[in-house]
């Protein structure tokens, strides 16, 4: 086989691989990328059940409850404008508590409860989920205020 032909074949293989990879990435990103929603966005835009998203806000005081099995918790998430009920089965992060900021990964079930598969709590002053930047928590009223 001529060297030119061989180069052509390799170049075509490379091109096919690259285009294939691009298409693969595009379709995977469309399905799997998780959009960030604040509770107000959930109410205004709506999220279809089962679609993986990230829900961010503050845990409303007085709503954190343990289920009888001891490992499931239920709580409400708010951004000051709207509130969404959520539940999580597992060991919550140490800094997860009422009044603290949280980003929950998961999806809504058909009843409108957010089923979190993972909770990211605010670690300390130096580490904070980026999505919660620009949201301030009012210590007195226990309300989230979004800066827009």
């Amino acid at each position: 086989m001529k060297a030119k032909h061989q180069r052509l074949i390799l170049a075509i293989a490379a091109l096919v691989a690259l285009i294939g990879a691009g298409l693969l990435a595009a379709s995977a990103l469309r399905d799997e990328a998780a959009y960030f929603y604040a509770p107000a966005d959930v109410h205004s835009k709506g999220v279809e059940p089962g679609k993986a998203i990230r829900l961010g806000g503050m845990v409303v005081k007085g709503t954190l409850k343990h289920a009888p099995d001891g490992v499931t918790i239920r709580f409400d998430v708010t951004d000051g404008k709207a509130t969404v009920p959520a539940s999580f089965k597992g060991i919550a992060p140490d800094l997860f508590r009422e009044g603290s900021g949280v980003v929950a990964e998961g999806a809504f079930d058909t009843s409108g409860t957010f089923i979190a598969t993972n909770l990211l709590a605010k670690h300390d002053e130096r580490y904070m989920p980026r999505e919660l930047e620009g949201m301030n928590y009012d210590e007195k009223t226990h309300e989230m205020k979004a800066e827009r």
Partner: protein, 642 residues
């Protein structure tokens, strides 16, 4: 005084890097070849000075000098000495100083030990190394001075992030950085070869040991980091597709491709332009990773601080170096002559396919990592996590593994498809057998990808030792052993990953003291919960008893730790390692009714993941020693005769 001395050493190193670049530049292009004699001593001096600066920063941390801002914000006098020491690089400024230290010391090593390279290429390489160091010195000196003082001195420090207070911190970041930044040498080699128009087999033979060394350390660093995250974060996972993990994976993928293409260039004199391109890409990926991490632009457990100004600085450096190198490549690639030809069925082609697949994975990981940034520009906050990466990287990696099985069984230059197929008969039969057995035994219970993974792992394992078949093992060269062990390591690691995702048993329970939980074959009993105290923390510790079958009871002590400075809590998982897996226990919170949350995993053969990683690194080390030993022996004999 120590801080000032450190700052002076850093400035001097900066000045020497400038001098090094100037000497090399004028010596090579300015018609003053007599200047070239000074390049090597200057490079060595630069390496020594930046090493001193780094040693002085370590000293400041060990002495808990609370008049230094960095020590105040990241250390505490009550911390155990190991964490004072390792805390030196557990922050932004310190880790960047470690970065330039590795770069300077690597440059000094190239000046001292590189003998195979032509002199002009050698000098151009050292010039290139100085040029990239300069930017990072400037970054430290102008925007991240690690030696800045505070006035008045603070009474005590704010402490180190407790997640980092682990012996892993002493090993993982330095190893990773050695590999990461060691790739800068390959980058400089590429620049040097392009500038002096010397891209050929001799150049590749000179570059190969440096690439191998960096790659071995990078592999070890990633493996250690994975195990560290596994036991420290308490989520039971060993890879989180965190942007920072991706930042270390991307240079590794590029370096793995480079490692294989540089071998083709060294032994067969083919793939000239592509090898140079990969050398540029590998270190570019290290720099992209640094940008992602150090700018704090992506959410990550590794992000120390969010500072847009620093991010911009690194972005400018990045654009300058990557853009410059690519421009140089475009300008000079025409001068790179075509290499030796090879047939379509040959080991060269196999390695081209290997490179192609590695590049595809690299591209997919890069897209996934940067996608959130791209969408944020349009006002959407998006995160791309494990579902994306598993779905795209998994299948491509499996295909890559199959090519890896066939590659070493294919001859250089030309081979026959039928012959390659015949050599793959035994591994192929094993694959078929495993697939059939697994499918009948566990169909529906385990996913398709883990099933494929196990099948591929076992057949690739068989194929990777096949090159030793019917060979005199004593006469087999060390680098062939290296290849076999590294490829076997890939199979071992893949087997661990597949077992973990296929057979892991997870149990989440709330129990009272005295209660028993069943997880897989294990029975665990919570004996008591008691408070204990360490050097700079207090904890609630569970005493638990684990029994499997009729075996002896083993005690486990998962903890929930509280650190006073900074005020943080961490979970310390309890691990019990057996030959066929690991028991992983995490203690959660106490519910209102007095029950304790426990999360328990039994992970069959999970340890194979890291064993495989160590084997891959060991294979690389053997190949390095095997290739270099002949040179050492010759040199040693030469000296003995003289």
């Amino acid at each position: 005084m120590i801080a000032e001395a450190g700052l002076i050493a850093l400035w001097l190193a900066f000045a020497l890097a400038l001098l090094q670049l100037t000497l090399a530049g004028f010596g090579l292009a300015g018609g003053k070849p007599e200047l070239l004699g000074s390049v090597r001593p200057v490079a060595v001096a630069q390496g020594v000075l930046v090493g001193i600066a780094f040693a002085l920063l370590i000293t400041l941390f060990l002495r808990s000098d609370m008049s230094v801002a960095l020590v105040v914000t990241n250390s505490h006098s009550m911390k155990p000495w190991l964490y004072k020491f390792a805390g030196t690089w557990g922050n932004h400024e310190g880790s960047m100083l470690l970065w330039v230290t590795v770069m300077g010391v690597a440059g000094a090593a190239v000046a001292l030990f590189e003998r195979a390279l032509r002199r002009d290429t050698h000098m151009a390489t050292l010039g290139g190394q100085a040029a990239i160091s300069l930017g990072f010195y400037a970054f430290l000196l102008f925007s991240s001075n690690p030696f800045a003082r505070v006035d008045p001195p603070a009474p005590d420090g704010q402490g180190l992030n407790p997640l980092l207070q682990d012996p892993g911190l002493a090993f993982h970041p330095p190893t990773l950085y050695l590999g990461y930044v060691g790739l800068s040498v390959a980058f400089s080699f590429a620049i040097g070869a392009l500038l002096t128009r010397r891209v050929d087999a001799a150049f590749a033979r000179a570059m190969r040991p440096w690439v191998l060394a960096a790659w071995v350390l990078l592999t070890l660093g990633i493996t250690a980091g994975s195990y560290w995250a596994y036991y420290e974060l308490g989520w039971g996972g060993w890879w989180f597709w965190d942007p920072v993990e991706n930042a270390s994976l991307m240079p590794w993928l590029a370096a793995t491709a480079l490692l294989h293409s540089v071998t083709v260039l060294a032994t067969r004199d083919a793939l000239r332009a592509w090898t140079v391109m990969l050398a540029v890409i590998a270190f570019s990926m290290s720099m992209v990773g640094t940008f992602l991490v150090r700018s704090g632009i992506l959410t990550s457990v590794h992000a120390f601080a969010v500072d847009p100004e620093r991010g911009t600085f690194i972005l400018v450096l990045l654009g300058f170096y990557i853009g410059g190198a690519l421009a140089l490549f475009g300008w000079r690639v025409g001068a790179v002559r075509e290499g030796a030809p090879f047939e379509l069925v040959s080991r060269e082609t196999m390695l081209v396919v290997n490179n192609l697949l590695l590049s595809v994975i690299l591209g997919l990981v890069l897209i996934g990592t940067l996608y959130p940034l791209m969408t944020e520009a349009f006002g959407h906050k998006v995160s791309v996590g494990a579902p994306y990466f598993d779905r795209i990287a998994g299948p491509v990696a499996l295909i890559l593994m199959l090519v890896m099985a066939a590659g070493p069984l294919t001859r250089w230059r030309r081979d026959k498809l039928g012959l390659v197929a015949r050599r793959l008969l035994v591994p192929g039969a094993i694959a078929l057998l495993v697939a059939v057995v697994l499918a009948t035994v566990a169909w529906g219970r385990i996913g398709v990808l883990p099933l494929l993974g196990l099948t591929v792992a076992l057949s690739v394992g068989a194929a990777s030792v096949a090159p030793l078949w019917k060979r005199n093992l004593r006469r087999t060269p060390l680098f062939t052993w290296g290849m076999v062990i590294a490829h076997l390591g890939c199979a071992v690691s893949l087997a661990g990953m597949a077992c973990d995702s296929a057979f892991t048993v997870e149990k989440l329970a709330a129990v009272r003291v005295g209660d028993t939980v069943q997880a897989g074959d294990w029975k665990l009993r919570l004996l008591q919960i008691s408070p204990i105290a360490g050097d700079n923390w207090t904890a609630l510790q569970a005493d638990m008893e684990a029994v499997r079958g009729g075996g002896r009871a083993v005690t486990l002590h998962p903890q929930s730790r509280f650190f006073a400075s900074p005020a943080t809590a961490t979970t310390e998982a309890a691990l019990l390692t057996r030959w066929n897996g690991q028991l992983y226990v995490v203690l959660g919170q106490e519910a209102e009714d007095g029950r304790w949350q426990l999360r328990i995993w039994w992970k069959p053969f999970v340890t194979l993941i890291w064993l495989g990683g160590v084997m891959i690194a060991l294979g690389g080390a053997l190949a390095l020693v095997g290739r270099e030993r002949r040179g050492w022996l010759l040199k040693w004999r030469g000296r003995a005769l003289a």
